[in-house]
C-alpha cells in the first residue's frame, strides 16, 4: 500500500518526466523503424505507436496526444524530413490515429480492449495517410485500391503493437500507476 502511495506521488511530481521518457521511447522506435527494411513498401509496423499506447494506458489522453505530436516533430527533424510531404503524412496519420484511440479508450472502454483500440488506431493511421497522400501528391483514386490490403495489414500490425505494449506494461508497472488497472479488462 505504501509503495502504491509512493508511486502515485512520483507520478504527480514527475508527469513531465514520464511524458518526456515516452517521447524518447517513441522517438527511438520511430527512427529505428525508418532504418529497418520493410517487407512490403506499404507495410509498416508502427512501432512508435507503442509509446502512444503506453502514454494512453499508463497516463491519460492528453499525454498520448503530447507524446505523438512531439515524437513526430522531433522525429522528422532528426530524419531531416521536417515539413516535407513525409512529415505531413506522419503528422496527419499519427494525430488521427491517436484521436481515434483516445476516443475508443475513453468512450468505448467497455467495447474494446487494448487490442481493439490498437487495431482501430492502425487502420485509422493507414487510412488517413492514404487520403492525405492522395490529396498531397498522388491525386489518383487508384490508390484507394490499397485500402483493403492496408486494412488487413493494419489488423496484424495493430495486434502486434498491442501485444508488445501489453508486455511492456508489466515492465513499466512501477513506472506509473493510475488509479485503475492499466488494462481495461
Amino acid at each position: 500500500m505504501s509503495s502504491l502511495n509512493k508511486t502515485v506521488s512520483v507520478r504527480r511530481n514527475s508527469r513531465f518526466t514520464q511524458i518526456a521518457l515516452l517521447i524518447g521511447v517513441g522517438l527511438i522506435l520511430f527512427v529505428f523503424e525508418s532504418f529497418i527494411p520493410r517487407p512490403l513498401p506499404w507495410v509498416k509496423l508502427g512501432f512508435a505507436h507503442i509509446a502512444t499506447l503506453l502514454a494512453l494506458y499508463l497516463l491519460d489522453s492528453s499525454a498520448a496526444l503530447i507524446v505523438v505530436v512531439s515524437r513526430i516533430f522531433l522525429g522528422s527533424i532528426l530524419l531531416g524530413s521536417f515539413f516535407n510531404p513525409t512529415f505531413l503524412l506522419s503528422l496527419s496519420g499519427g494525430l488521427c490515429a491517436t484521436l481515434i484511440m483516445v476516443f475508443a479508450k475513453e468512450k468505448l472502454n467497455k467495447v474494446f480492449s487494448i487490442f481493439g483500440v490498437s487495431i482501430l488506431g492502425a487502420v485509422t493511421h493507414n487510412l488517413t495517410q492514404l487520403i492525405v497522400a492522395n490529396w498531397l501528391i498522388i491525386n489518383k483514386n487508384e490508390i484507394f485500391y490499397l485500402i483493403p490490403l492496408m486494412t488487413l495489414t493494419a489488423i496484424i500490425t495493430g495486434t502486434i503493437i498491442a501485444f508488445i505494449s501489453q508486455l511492456l506494461f508489466s515492465r513499466f508497472s512501477n513506472f506509473s500507476l493510475q488509479n485503475s488497472s492499466p488494462l481495461p479488462k
Binding site: P41, K110, I143
Partner: protein, 137 residues
C-alpha cells in the same frame, strides 16, 4: 484469475479480446476481402502507364513500350523502366527507395509512389469496357 490470464502469450490474446474487438476484426476482414475479391476480378493486367510528377500529368506510355527514361521530380531524378508489359523504378534519388523496392507492377490500378520525389506511376486498368470508351483528342 484475471491476472493469470494476462500472462502474455500469443495464445492468450484471443481470450483477452472483447466481443467488440472480435466484431471489429471480423467486419474489417470481411469488408477488405470482399473489396479485394471485387477488385481482383474486375482488373486484369493494365494497358498503359500514367506518370505524374509534382501533381502534374507528365506522360502516358503504353505498357507495350520497352523503354527506360529518367524524370526530374521534387528532389532529384527517378529512373523508370517499362518492359514486357510491366513498369518499375530502377533508380531514385530519394532516401528510403520505397519506390525502387516496390518492384514491377503490371495490373490495372497498381501504383508506385515516390513521396519525397513526388513521382506517381500508375498502371491504368484494362477492363473489357475500356475498349468501348474511347477518347478522341
Amino acid at each position: 484469475m484475471r491476472k493469470k490470464n494476462n500472462t502474455h502469450s500469443w495464445l492468450n490474446i484471443w481470450r483477452q479480446l472483447t466481443n467488440g474487438d472480435k466484431i471489429l476484426v471480423f467486419l474489417l476482414v470481411i469488408s477488405s476481402v470482399a473489396t479485394l475479391a471485387l477488385l481482383q476480378s474486375s482488373e486484369g493486367s493494365g494497358s498503359a502507364v500514367e506518370i505524374k510528377i509534382m501533381n502534374r500529368h507528365f506522360a502516358t506510355f503504353p505498357l507495350k513500350a520497352d523503354t527506360t527514361f529518367t524524370v526530374i521530380g521534387a528532389i532529384g531524378e527517378t529512373q523508370i523502366s517499362i518492359a514486357k508489359g510491366k513498369v518499375r523504378v530502377l533508380q531514385s534519388d530519394c532516401r528510403q527507395k520505397i519506390c525502387v523496392k516496390t518492384g514491377w507492377i503490371s495490373r490495372g490500378g497498381q501504383l508506385i509512389v515516390c513521396v519525397p520525389n513526388q513521382v506517381v506511376i500508375a498502371v491504368i486498368g484494362k477492363k473489357e469496357e475500356d475498349f468501348l470508351n474511347v477518347i478522341t483528342q
